[in-house]
C-alpha cells in the first residue's frame, strides 16, 4: 500500500494551501495521534455529542472554563460547564462545513499537546491535566504569540467559548444588560 508518509505529505500540502480554520498550524495537530491517551475527562456531556469525541469535548470544556469568568474571583458568574458551553459549541460546529469541524478537532488536539505546551509556555502536561495557572499561561502565550497562527488558534477558542457563554440569558444581569425589551403590540391582522 502507498506509504502513510505519502498520505501525510498530501495532507500537509493541502493544509499549507489553506489558512487556519484551515491552517498550517493544524498540520501539527494531525501529527499528534496519541495526545488524548492522557486526557482528563471532566464533566460528562449533557447530550449526545454531534461532532467531538469525549476527549475533544473534555479539552474544549477545559479551555472554556479558563476563557469565561466562572472559575474566577467573582462567584456570581456561572461556570462554563453550568451554561453547557462545550455542548453548545459541539452542536454549533456540527453544522459547519465538514472541513471546518475537522480543523476544529485538530486544533483541540494541538491544545491538549504537552509538546506544544512546553514549546509555548514551558508547561509539559496535557492541557486538561495542567493547573489553572498553567492553562492561563498557555492561552496567554498563544494570545500574544509572535506566531500569527497561534494567535489565530487562540481567537478561534476564545470566540467560540465567549459566544456560547455571553449569548446565555443567565449572564445578562451580571453584564448590566436588562435583556430584550417588550415588543409593542401590532394591530390585529398585521402580517
Amino acid at each position: 500500500m502507498p506509504g502513510s508518509d505519502d498520505r501525510a505529505g498530501f495532507d500537509r500540502r493541502r493544509f499549507l494551501k489553506r489558512g487556519l480554520f484551515g491552517g498550517t498550524l493544524l498540520v501539527l495537530g494531525g501529527a499528534l495521534p496519541f495526545v488524548f491517551r492522557t486526557t482528563r475527562r471532566g464533566s460528562r456531556p449533557r447530550r449526545p455529542l454531534r461532532l467531538l469525541s469525549p476527549d475533544e469535548y473534555a479539552v474544549f470544556a477545559a479551555v472554556a472554563a479558563r476563557i469565561v469568568p466562572g472559575d474566577g474571583a467573582d462567584a456570581r458568574w456561572p461556570r462554563a460547564e453550568a451554561l453547557d458551553c462545550a455542548g453548545k459549541v459541539d452542536a454549533l460546529m456540527a453544522t459547519t462545513h465538514p472541513d471546518v469541524g475537522h480543523d476544529f478537532r485538530r486544533l483541540l488536539r494541538l491544545v491538549e499537546s504537552g509538546f506544544l505546551g512546553t514549546f509555548t509556555a514551558g508547561s509539559p502536561r496535557p492541557f486538561t491535566r495542567a493547573t489553572a495557572a498553567e492553562q492561563d499561561a498557555r492561552l496567554g502565550a498563544w494570545r500574544r504569540s509572535r506566531l500569527a497562527i497561534l494567535r489565530s488558534g487562540y481567537q478561534a477558542l476564545k470566540r467560540l467559548a465567549d459566544a456560547a457563554y455571553y449569548s446565555s440569558p443567565e449572564i445578562y444581569a451580571l453584564c448590566g444588560y436588562p435583556g430584550p425589551p417588550v415588543v409593542p403590540e401590532l394591530p390585529a391582522g398585521t402580517p
Partner: protein
C-alpha cells in the same frame, strides 16, 4: 398578469426536482430581490434561490444565541482565513438586509469618478443612478435623518465630532414605524425595518416569482458560452447539511446576487467565466476597527437605533487611506467577542457594558494601492478569504484609533479603551501617543467587517474585470451579477442602497427585449 408566486422552503422540495423558468436569480438580498422584482414585473418567469432559511418577524426573538447562527453566514463564524477579521454577513431570505443596521447612503460621487478613471467603468454617474436611487429610497421608506433616532451611543459620536469640528451627519434609515428597539442586527420583530424580504422580494412574489429557501447554489452549468442552469443543494434546516438536489434551468438568463464572497466563490466552484483571472480578486471589506469609551452615566448602547450618526471628515485623506466613523451596538455576545483578554480580566470589561460607548472606524479599502482580499474555493467547495492587512491600511487604522479616542474624550468619556490584545487606556490627550507605538496586526487588535464588496468587479476591460458596467459577464453572455461583488473598490459608505440601485439599473437593462 401572472398568479402570485410563493416561498417554498427546503422541506417542501423533492430531491432531484427541477424547474425551468426565464430567469434564475441566486440570492434574495438587496440585489437579488430587486432584480427579481424588476424581471417579474416585466413579465418574465423568475425563481429566486436562497441558501438561508425563511424567517419572519415572529421568529426574531432578539436573542443573539438564535440570531447569529440562524441569520448569518457560517452561523456567525465567517472570518478571513487567519481569523483576523470577523465577517458579519447575512444569510436568510432577505440576505444581508435582514440583519443590517438600516443605514442608507447613495454611492459617493468621488467613488463613481474613481471607478470611471481607474477601473474602466463607463456610463455609471450620479445622474444615471439618480432615478434608481430615488425609486429604491421610496420603496424602502428611506427617510431623512431623524434627531429622535439618536440614542446615547450615537449622541456621544455626534457631540464629540461637533466639538472637534468634524461635521457629524444624521444617517438616513430604511425604516417605517420604527420603535427604536435596537435589534436591527438580529432581525426586526416589528418588520419596521424595510428589508428586501418585505419590499422587493414581496413585489417579485406578487408578480409571480417563486422563492426557494434553503437552496445553496452549488454550480452554474454552462454550455457553449451560455449559462443554462443553477444546481443547488437543498439544505436540511436543522443540520445545515444537504438533503437533496434541485436544479433551476434558465431559458433567458441567470442573475447572481449571493453577495460578495459567495458570488465569486460560486463562479470559481463552477469553473465558469473565470478566464480573466479576476474572479475572487479585489475583495473589499471596509475593515472595521472599534474602540470602547466608558462614561460615568449609563449609555445602554444595546437599545435604540444602532446607527444614526456618521462622520466622514476623514474619508478623503489624500494619498493615505481614508475612513469614516459610525457606531456599533453592544449586546453582550458581540461585545464579548470584541473585548480583549479572557477570564477575570475580560469579565471586568464586560461588567461595564451598560456604560460603554462603541465607536467604529471603517477603512475605505481599494481606493489606493491596497488590492483587498482574495476569495478561493478548495476541492470540497469550502470558501477561503485571504485578506492581507496592507501597510497603508494599518496606518489608517492606527490613525483612526487615535481620532476616535480624541473624539470620545471630547464628548466627555471618563476613559477610552482600545481593543488591542493588550488594551491601552486613554484618559487624556497625553495618552494618545501610546497608540502609534502599540503593535497592530492580525489578531493583535479586534477587527470586523459588516460590508463585503468586490470580487467580481465591473468594468469595460475583460482582462481587468468580470462583468461590464451593466453587470453582464464578459464571457457568459446571459449571466449577470447584481450584488456588491461588482464594486471595483469599496464604497466609502454603507452599501445596501447602492446595491439596490445598481441591481435596479442592471435588471431594467436585462428586462429589455432582445
Amino acid at each position: 398578469m401572472s398568479a402570485a408566486g410563493r416561498i417554498v422552503t427546503g422541506a417542501e422540495i423533492p430531491d432531484l426536482s427541477s424547474v425551468e423558468v426565464d430567469f434564475v436569480v441566486v440570492g434574495s438580498g438587496a440585489g437579488g430581490s430587486t432584480a427579481a422584482a424588476v424581471l417579474a414585473a416585466a413579465g418574465a418567469r423568475v425563481v429566486v434561490l436562497e441558501e438561508g432559511g425563511h424567517y419572519t418577524r415572529r421568529d426574531f426573538n432578539m436573542q443573539e444565541s438564535w440570531a447569529y447562527p440562524a441569520l448569518y453566514q457560517e452561523h456567525g463564524n465567517r472570518a478571513t482565513d487567519d481569523l483576523a477579521i470577523l465577517i458579519l454577513q447575512g444569510r436568510s431570505v432577505g440576505g444581508g438586509t435582514t440583519v443590517n443596521w438600516t443605514s442608507s447612503f447613495r454611492t459617493p460621487e468621488r467613488t463613481l469618478a474613481l471607478w470611471a478613471a481607474r477601473h474602466g467603468v463607463r456610463g455609471l454617474d450620479a445622474a444615471t443612478l439618480a432615478p434608481h436611487f430615488a425609486a429604491a429610497e421610496q420603496r424602502l421608506d428611506v427617510g431623512v435623518g431623524d434627531p429622535d433616532d439618536v440614542n446615547n451611543n450615537n449622541r456621544k459620536l455626534q457631540e464629540g465630532a461637533a466639538k472637534l469640528g468634524w461635521r457629524p451627519e444624521l444617517i438616513h434609515r430604511s425604516v417605517k414605524g420604527c420603535a427604536r428597539l435596537g435589534y436591527c442586527g438580529m432581525g426586526c420583530p416589528l418588520d419596521a425595518k424595510r428589508t428586501s424580504r418585505t419590499t422587493y422580494l414581496a413585489d417579485a412574489i406578487a408578480a409571480g416569482a417563486d422563492v426557494y429557501s434553503d437552496c445553496r447554489a452549488k454550480l452554474v452549468e454552462t454550455d457553449r458560452g451560455r449559462a443554462r442552469a443553477v444546481v443547488a443543494d437543498v439544505l436540511d434546516r436543522a443540520s445545515d447539511r444537504p438533503r437533496g438536489r434541485f436544479v433551476a434551468y434558465a431559458r433567458r438568463g441567470i442573475v447572481l446576487a449571493g453577495g460578495a464572497i459567495n458570488t465569486p466563490a460560486l463562479l470559481l466552484r463552477s469553473k465558469a467565466g473565470t478566464d480573466s483571472g479576476q474572479v475572487g480578486r479585489r475583495t473589499f471589506l471596509h475593515p472595521t476597527v472599534p474602540i470602547v469609551a466608558f462614561y460615568d452615566q449609563p449609555i445602554e448602547a444595546f437599545y435604540g437605533p444602532p446607527q444614526s450618526v456618521s462622520v466622514h471628515h476623514f474619508a478623503d485623506r489624500g494619498e493615505r487611506v481614508g475612513y469614516f466613523l459610525e457606531t456599533a451596538p453592544v449586546h453582550p455576545m458581540l461585545a464579548a467577542l470584541a473585548f480583549p483578554g479572557f477570564g477575570d480580566t475580560h469579565r471586568k470589561i464586560v461588567e461595564r457594558l451598560a456604560f460603554a460607548q462603541s465607536t467604529i472606524a471603517l477603512l475605505i479599502d481599494g481606493h489606493h494601492d491596497d488590492e483587498g482580499g482574495v476569495v478561493e474555493v478548495n476541492g470540497d467547495g469550502r470558501i477561503k478569504l485571504g485578506y492581507p492587512l496592507h501597510a497603508s491600511l494599518r496606518e489608517a487604522a492606527v490613525a483612526a484609533i487615535a481620532d476616535m479616542a480624541r473624539l470620545q474624550l471630547a464628548a466627555g468619556a471618563r476613559e477610552v479603551m482600545t481593543l488591542h490584545e493588550t488594551p491601552l487606556v486613554i484618559r487624556s490627550e497625553a495618552d494618545l501617543g501610546a497608540i502609534a507605538a502599540a503593535p497592530f496586526g492580525p489578531n493583535l487588535h479586534t477587527m470586523f467587517s459588516a460590508h463585503q464588496m468586490g470580487g467580481a468587479a465591473m468594468g469595460e476591460d475583460p482582462a481587468r474585470s468580470v462583468v461590464d458596467s451593466r453587470g453582464r459577464h464578459h464571457q457568459l453572455e446571459n449571466l449577470w451579477i447584481a450584488d456588491g461583488s461588482v464594486f471595483p473598490t469599496s464604497l466609502g459608505v454603507n452599501p445596501q442602497l447602492s446595491i439596490y440601485a445598481l441591481a435596479r439599473l442592471f435588471a431594467t437593462e436585462i428586462a429589455k427585449p432582445g
